[in-house]
Amino acid sequence: MPTIQFGDVQVEVDEDGFVQDPKQWTEDLARYLAKQEEGLDNLTEDHWKVIHYLRDYYQQFGIAPMIRKLCKDTGFDLKYIYELFPSGPAKGACKLAGLPKPTGCV
C-alpha cells in the first residue's frame, strides 16, 4: 500500500490516491491532495463548501452522495462542479474529501 509523507504523519493511500483511513483526513491533507492530484494551487470557499458537504454526508450515510444531491444541497450547478474539480465528482471531489473510491466504472 503506497503512503504519502505529509508533515509529520504518513498517510496510507491506495494506488489511485484515495485516503485509506478517513480519520487521517485534515484540511491540510485536502490542500496537499488538491495540488498533487488536481493541480489546484488553492482551494476556494466553493471548493470547501463541496468538500465539507461530502464529508458530512458520508459521515451520516456511509456512502458518497449522488451528484443530484450535491448540486441541490450546495446550490451549485452541474457544470460548475465539473469546473471546480477537473477530475470529476468521484476522482476529484470525493478524493479530496477523504472518501473511499466508489465501486463500478470510476
Partner: protein
C-alpha cells in the same frame, strides 16, 4: 506446509485444476492445447507495448494457468520444471494461486487483441476469465471487483443507487430536457408497460455524470421513440464478465431479461457500455442457456438506424474541433460494432481523424477487464494505456469520442497522465449536440458543449 493442505480460502492446486477443467468447453480446450509458443502475440498486447517484459506476453498469462494445471499431472511430481509445471519453490498452494491471481487479474484486460493475431486462435482472454472465475469462487479476487459484483446483486446496480435517488435524477434530467427542447411535454418515461424500447444505463451516469442520460433522452425524443426506463432493472453493466463468475453473471442477466419480458418490450437497448453490451447481447444467452424473446442492441446501433432512416438529422457545425474515435474492445473486436459510430461521426462532426490501428485492431485503452475497479493495479493500468495515449497524440485530434463509459474514465486519466490536452466524450453527447430538432427549437448547450464550456 502440506502440499495437500487447504488454503484459508479452501482452495488448493488440485481443486483449482478440477474446477477449471470442469468449466472447460471445446473452445477453451483447444486454446489450452494449441499454443505453439511462436510469440507473435507479444507485439499485439498493450501491456507489452508499454513495457516489453516476458510477463507481458499474452502467452505467458495463459501459460501461467497451464503451469498450475500441469502440477496435477502424475509425471510432473518430482521435476515439475522439466514438464512445464509450476515449481513449488517453497510456496504453499495459496501462495502459488495468489501469484497466479496477480497475473490473471492484474495484467490482462481481456481485450482479445492477441487472439486476432494468434495463428492458432488461442483465446487467452477466455483462459484468463475462466481462471478468474475459479479463484473468485474461493474469495481470491481483488476487493474492488468483488464489491462491484456484490453491490449489483444486492442493490440492483453496481453503485448501490437507491430507487428514490434514481427517480430524483431522472426527474432532474427530464426538467433539463424540457428546457433544452422548449417542449414542456418532453418526457423521460419510467416503467412504461408495452414500450417498444427498454433503455439501460451505467450507474456512473446516474451517480456522477447524468448529462449522458440527458443526451440519450434528447436523441430518443428527437426520434420520437416509444421507450422507457425500468426502476427494477436499469443497470446494463455486468461485472460478472470480469470476475469470471458465470453464476453471478447469469443472475445479473436474468434480472434484466425478466424485467424486459414483464414490461413486454420489443428491444433492450444498452447504454454506451462496452462490457455491458457484450455481456447481455453476446454472453447472456450462453450463461442463461436460452435465447431472449426480444432483440438486444447497443444505443450506437439504434442511433445509426435513426440517422440512416432520417428519424434524426444532424448538423456537423455543432462540433467543429477535430475528433477521433476510440473503439471500445467489447463493442468493436468483441461485438462487431465498427461502422456505426463512424457513420454517426461523419454526420455529426466537421473533421474526423482515425487512429491507427482502429476498428477490430484497436488498442485497448487499458481500462478494460474491470481494471478501474481494481485499485491495486492502477499504476499498471496507466502504464498499459501508453499505446492508446500515443495513438491519440499522433491523431492530432482535440476531442476523443468513445462509446463506453468505462473507456471514458480511463481516457480521462490518460489525458491527465500523458498530458494529451484533449476532451473526452461519449458518442451520444456529440450526436445530441449536433441534433437538428424537427420543431426547429434551438437546443440549449448541453452534454459535450456544456462540459467544454
Amino acid at each position: 506446509m502440506s502440499v495437500q493442505g487447504l488454503s484459508p480460502h479452501g482452495l488448493n492446486l488440485k481443486q483449482f485444476s478440477q474446477e477449471f477443467r470442469a468449466k472447460t468447453g471445446p473452445a477453451l480446450l483447444s486454446s489450452l492445447d494449441a499454443c505453439v509458443r511462436c510469440g507473435v502475440c507479444a507485439e499485439s498486447c498493450h501491456y507489452y507495448q508499454a513495457d516489453p517484459r516476458p510477463e507481458h506476453v499474452p502467452a505467458y498469462r495463459a501459460e501461467a494457468v497451464r503451469r498450475i494445471l500441469r502440477t496435477q499431472d502424475p509425471w510432473t511430481r518430482w521435476f515439475p520444471g522439466w514438464f512445464g509445471a509450476e515449481p513449488r519453490r517453497g510456496r504453499s498452494d495459496e501462495e502459488m494461486l495468489r501469484a497466479l491471481g496477480d497475473v490473471i487479474f492484474g495484467t490482462c484486460t481481456q481485450c482479445r487483441r492477441c487472439t486476432l493475431s494468434c495463428p492458432m486462435g488461442v483465446d487467452t482472454g477466455t483462459i484468463v476469465r475462466t481462471a478468474r472465475g475459479v479463484l473468485a469462487r474461493h474469495g481470491l479476487i481483488p476487493e474492488g471487483l468483488k464489491a462491484t459484483v456484490d453491490a449489483h446483486l444486492k442493490t440492483g446496480n453496481n453503485m448501490a443507487v437507491s430507487r428514490e435517488d434514481f427517480l430524483d435524477t431522472l426527474q432532474w434530467m427530464e426538467e433539463q430536457l424540457q428546457s433544452d427542447t422548449g417542449d414542456p411535454q418532453a418526457r423521460i418515461p419510467v416503467n412504461k408497460q408495452g414500450a417498444r424500447v427498454l433503455y439501460t444505463l451505467n450507474p456512473r451516469e446516474v451517480k456522477y455524470f447524468p448529462l449522458t442520460i440527458l443526451a440519450a433522452a434528447k436523441i430518443l425524443y428527437a426520434a420520437q421513440e416509444d421507450w422507457t426506463f425500468s426502476t427494477e432493472a436499469w443497470d446494463g453493466t455486468n461485472y460478472g464478465l470480469f470476475s469470471g463468475e458465470d453464476d453471478k453473471a447469469a443472475e445479473i442477466a436474468r434480472r434484466l431479461e425478466a424485467e424486459a419480458v414483464r414490461l413486454g418490450v420489443q428491444e433492450v437497448v444498452m447504454t454506451e457500455c462496452g462490457h455491458g453490451y457484450r455481456s447481455f447481447r453476446w454472453e447472456g444467452p450462453n450463461w442463461l442457456g436460452h435465447p431472449y424473446p426480444f432483440r438486444v442492441r447497443s444505443f450506437v446501433e439504434l442511433m445509426a438506424e435513426y440517422l440512416d432512416s432520417g428519424r434524426i438529422k444532424l448538423n456537423p457545425a455543432a462540433n467543429s474541433l477535430p475528433v477521433t474515435y476510440h473503439d471500445p474492445c467489447n463493442l468493436a473486436r468483441n461485438g462487431g460494432i465498427i461502422e456505426e459510430p463512424r457513420f454517426l461521426l461523419s454526420r455529426a462532426v466537421r473533421e474526423f481523424r482515425e487512429m491507427t490501428p482502429n476498428g477490430k485492431d484497436n488498442y485497448c485503452c487499458g481500462g478494460g477487464g474491470g481494471m478501474l475497479a481494481m485499485t491495486e493495479y492502477s499504476q499498471r493500468r496507466l502504464q498499459a494505456g501508453q499505446a492508446k495515449a500515443r495513438q491519440i497524440a499522433a491523431s492530432g485530434a482535440r476531442v476523443v469520442v468513445t462509446s463506453c463509459h468505462n473507456c471514458v474514465d480511463q481516457l480521462n486519466e490518460l489525458n491527465r497522465h500523458y498530458q494529451l490536452k484533449v476532451k473526452v466524450h461519449n458518442l451520444c453527447e456529440i450526436v445530441a449536440d449536433a441534433l437538428v430538432l424537427a420543431k426547429a427549437q434551438r437546443p440549449a448547450a448541453s452534454g459535450a458543449a456544456a462540459q467544454d464550456a
